[in-house]
Symmetry: C2
Subunit: 340 residues, 2 copies
DNA sequence: AGAGTCTTCCAAAGCGCTTTGGCTTTTTTG
DNA sequence: CAAAAAAGCCAAAGCGCTTTGGAAGACTCT
């Protein structure tokens, strides 16, 4: 059942039927009702390919997925996706993932924009002066950044969490508990979130006249193994920290294992605070010692990003407003006063 | 730059240019070269929306993503996606995720087929007599199932791993080591993979005249917490098992924690074998006691599914061939002879 | 040399929708 | 009550591609 047939059986023109269906004003309400009714009765659904060719609208949002043999997609992604999908579903939006060579995403961005394959895109894991953000900004497609970039001469719309504030609070708590030597096991420090977290820790330390030792900060891919290695290194060298802030629950698994392997305890010898993105399958309260965390649901962020993208597509949202969500600091058993 | 313009500047008809570009035989090689050349020089890329309307081909593969507040997307998904994306990239395929109410995916399948939104779909986590498989089969869109369904009167194409064989081997090893009371901590037993794994364990036990006790098998969502709970329950009751087979590395984290909490050791008191889908961020060799596993890279499966989908789209693959991959049994420190 | 075959190209008809520009008919207005 | 404005509808022109059904010219064959 296409428009032509529907129009024919209603003895109306395609124009009128189309307008009736799309809510244009220049059609009699009585007629509109008839059309709507017939459309529903015959299960008429406009062909998206045709509509797309005519309008350029696709009803899809895009994400360029970096791939490659050595590229691992972050497990956070799936949780983000849950939120995004949840919102998108209720608004009949689909998500198209365009895989791209991790080292050349630009080509793919250009393609999906030139081809009008999606109505909007989002960008995640941005770095300072991220080229994707600049590119997408000039290409003129609606977008939202999940996280923040920095150092542009233009503003852009983003949704981020207060990484700096979160790690500032975490560090401040540890300092108040008497810790003097903190360490930070961070994610890839080319990404803004990691930079912000480090900044937060440093700021808290500085406020008490302390510093984050050169060797007390490390930046690695967020795997269990890396958490383990970093911790071993930290604790086996001289000047070992008495407290660790850690950027991910998965790395924290490795931290806990390393501490145990060294015959030390949490929080007796080492206090630990990790960032929790809220995975359903790994909860900080269930660690052998319940883990203190800075908590922010990445799933909620996904839903929010979808919401903003939808708003931008339909013109409800404009401008370059950035929003920064506060982060909870949840204290559990893994922190204690510094050992004497 | 569109076809019309290109044709005009070459003083050829759109027909000829189109055919030259798409490799039809009825065009002079010399002409084809000219066309190809000009196309490249001017960066001509056919508009996919238009092509799509004309041919019905989209260059996209689809996946219906079950969503809902209480629905958690499996973290395996992201790893599968890595593989899929990796292959898809090299073939200029995009993946469209259509979020659907987890309880009504049928509507979404019908929509994406009726609308011709994708050229093919894949289905994951199938159950016996899975309605999605039956539906997609009758709808006539090319598809591949990742995993297996059962109990149809038709065949369908799938790629699965030998879950039964893997768990059969695992159980057999444990039995050979003298274990008599095995337990299985399984995933959702409405899904085929879980059924197959249980079958594998039972078959191995039966071969030695043993059985899988009623209370020695549990089927839960694969979270750390559920692994923990299941293990506590198993080990605290009478008739506690001396060996555990576990369907996921994430649950195994909980198993290990529970064993430790009870003051027991692996493999001294309990042997443990878990299934490993090969996550880059959590490796069995890095468990406090290196974990024996049945191993199969879900990432490779993703790539394979993409490959088969591409083959089906282009007509290179037909029929309903199912392929079953063997699974490695990797023995590490977490298994030992049964305690006396 | 005329008939039949290829080879190579083209005009035009879709694909199914939206949107422009205009044409009636009805309603409002001075 | 005539003129102007508004309401309601339509034909047709896109959107940019593929594909059908020729047709012209070159080649082969008897």
């Amino acid at each position: 059942m296409n428009l032509k047939q529907l129009a024919h059986m209603l003895a109306l023109s395609q124009t009128t039927v189309s307008r009736a269906l799309n809510g244009y004003p220049e059609v009699n309400e009585e007629t509109r009702r008839r059309v709507m009714d017939a459309a529903k009765r015959h299960g008429y659904r406009p062909n998206p390919s045709a509509r797309r060719l005519a309008t350029g609208k696709t009803g899809m949002i895009g994400y360029v997925l970096p791939t490659g043999a050595s590229v691992d997609i972050d497990p956070h992604f799936v949780e983000f996706l849950s939120g995004l999908g949840d919102y998108a579903r209720s608004h009949e939006l689909d998500l198209v993932l365009s895989p791209a060579d991790a080292d050349d995403q630009e080509t793919t961005y250009r393609r999906i924009v030139a081809n009008r394959q999606v109505d909007a895109v989002y960008i995640s894991s941005p770095r300072p002066a991220d080229r994707r953000v600049a590119l997408v900004n000039t290409l003129g497609i609606p977008f939202i950044v999940h996280g923040r970039s920095e150092g542009f001469d233009f503003d852009y719309p983003f949704t981020d969490i207060d990484n700096e504030g979160a790690f500032h609070e975490a560090a401040r708590l540890l300092i108040q508990l008497g810790h003097r030597r903190l360490a930070l096991i961070n994610g890839d420090d080319r990404e803004t979130f990691a930079i912000h977290r480090e900044r937060g820790v440093r700021r808290a330390l500085a406020a008490s006249g302390l510093e984050l030792g050169e060797r007390h900060v490390c930046s690695v891919a967020m795997t269990e193994e890396n958490g383990y290695r970093a911790t071993r290194r930290l604790l086996e060298e001289g000047d070992a920290p008495t407290a660790i802030a850690c950027s991910s629950l998965i790395m924290a698994l490795g931290v806990v294992r390393a501490v145990r392997d060294l015959g030390l305890t949490i929080p007796g010898d080492v206090s630990l605070i990790a960032h929790d993105d809220v995975f359903p399958w790994l909860r900080p309260e269930n660690f052998s010692v319940p883990l203190s965390t800075t908590r922010s649901s990445i799933r909620l962020a996904g839903a929010r990003i979808a919401e903003r993208l939808a708003a931008r597509i339909s013109g409800l949202e404009e401008g370059a407003r950035g929003e920064v969500w506060p982060v909870d600091l949840v204290v559990r058993g893994s922190v204690a006063g510094a050992p004497a």
